[in-house]
Amino acid sequence: MVTWRAVPAHDELHRDGESLVLVDGRVQRVSALGTAVRELAAQPVGEDVLARMLEERFGAPPTGDLLTLTRAALADLVRAGLLERLED
């Protein structure tokens, strides 16, 4: 089973839902959606569960499929080095 987990940050600052995350000596600004994903993935979590929790927090996406949009957000965060994909 594939799960997702936030990469531990050296420091993380939250304001108004958004955040700055310091990982590997680099500061990145993370959107409200990305910030929520990292919060919800503090412990390994599957994408289905994550998608439902995001929907509870932000409501249904106005356009597009919830799971597809969640996967896109996960991919963005992985590319940024802020999330890791775990496989059993």
């Binding site: 993380e12 600052l13 304001r15 955040s19 000596g25 500061v27 600004r29």
Partner: protein, 287 residues
């Protein structure tokens, strides 16, 4: 090494000794004492139990290649904390390189302890309220100090070091000024020769401004308030060793919250910043 060949400095709250050797040593010692007069340790004794950082300074014979090894490296003797050594046959270039080496040594020594902003700092001479003007190199910090500094205390034209309690440790180094007659080499000018004085009271951070000088900018400076996340994203590239401090993002956010947030100022002529400097240096301490 003879004590007379050591120029003892105290910069960014740490001791740095310049060990002078090579060609015309007494002359170079005097030049360094003149240029660094606001950073000299009065009696040359250490200010802490930590051994001083050591930077060697060697003026080579006129025909020697820059960077060539001196016959005896002034920073190579045993027992010194850490050594960097600069040698050059061209005096202005040697002075410029020495300034850079002193800066690196001091920043290295304070790494993990200070919030070190790449900034010009001017302080109110009575209260110590300090305005920090953050900017990359060659974009107006030294000009700001030369122009607006004589009525105030000169904290630095290079690095403003902030302690956790909001006080600022000065770095009133020689001012590095570009000269058109020396291609690529800056003239290291003694602050006193430009009417600048070191702080006589402990400076404390009163405000942070990001400078953006635009050639040909007309009218009054444009001031943009930055939200804290944008401000931190803009400031961190202009900081030194900041990421090695404990919870750096929270520290910087706290600094900005206490001092009214950061502003980005777009301007053409540095004289137009006088009201802004006056406003920040007139503040009461939030610390």
């Amino acid at each position: 090494m003879a004590a007379s060949d050591i120029v003892p400095l105290h910069v960014l709250g740490t001791d740095v000794d310049l060990h002078v050797g090579g060609h015309r040593t007494p002359h170079l010692v005097q030049v360094l004492r003149d240029r660094w007069h606001l950073c000299l340790r009065a009696d040359g004794t250490p200010t802490s139990a930590e051994p001083p950082q050591v930077v060697g300074a060697t003026l080579l014979e006129p025909d020697a290649a820059p960077g060539a090894s001196a016959t005896s490296d002034p920073a190579a003797a045993p027992g010194w904390a850490r050594g960097d050594s600069v040698s050059d046959s061209d005096e202005p270039r040697l002075l410029q390189r020495l300034t850079q080496s002193v800066t690196y040594a001091a920043i290295g020594a304070r790494s993990g302890e200070l919030l070190m902003l790449h900034a010009a700092g001017l302080a109110d001479p009575v209260t110590g309220a300090t305005a920090a003007f953050v900017a990359p190199g060659n974009t107006g910090k030294t000009t700001l100090c030369r122009t607006l500094g004589p009525a105030r205390s000169y904290v630095s034209d290079e690095t403003v070091g902030v302690r956790r309690d909001g006080t600022v440790t000065p770095y009133p180094k020689p001012l590095s000024t570009r000269r058109p007659d020396w291609a690529g080499v800056k003239d290291e000018q003694a602050p006193g020769s430009l009417g600048l004085r070191a702080p006589e009271v402990t400076p404390w951070l009163a405000g942070v401004v990001l400078l953006r000088r635009v050639e040909g900018h007309r009218g009054a400076p444009e001031v943009e308030e930055l939200d804290v996340l944008d401000a931190i994203m803009a400031i961190t590239p202009e900081s030194s060793a900041f990421m090695r401090t404990e919870r750096p993002l929270h520290w910087l956010a706290d600094v900005l919250d206490r001092t009214g947030g950061a502003r980005r100022v777009t301007y053409g002529e540095v004289g137009e910043l006088e009201p802004l400097v006056g406003e920040i240096c007139g503040r009461r301490s939030p610390w």
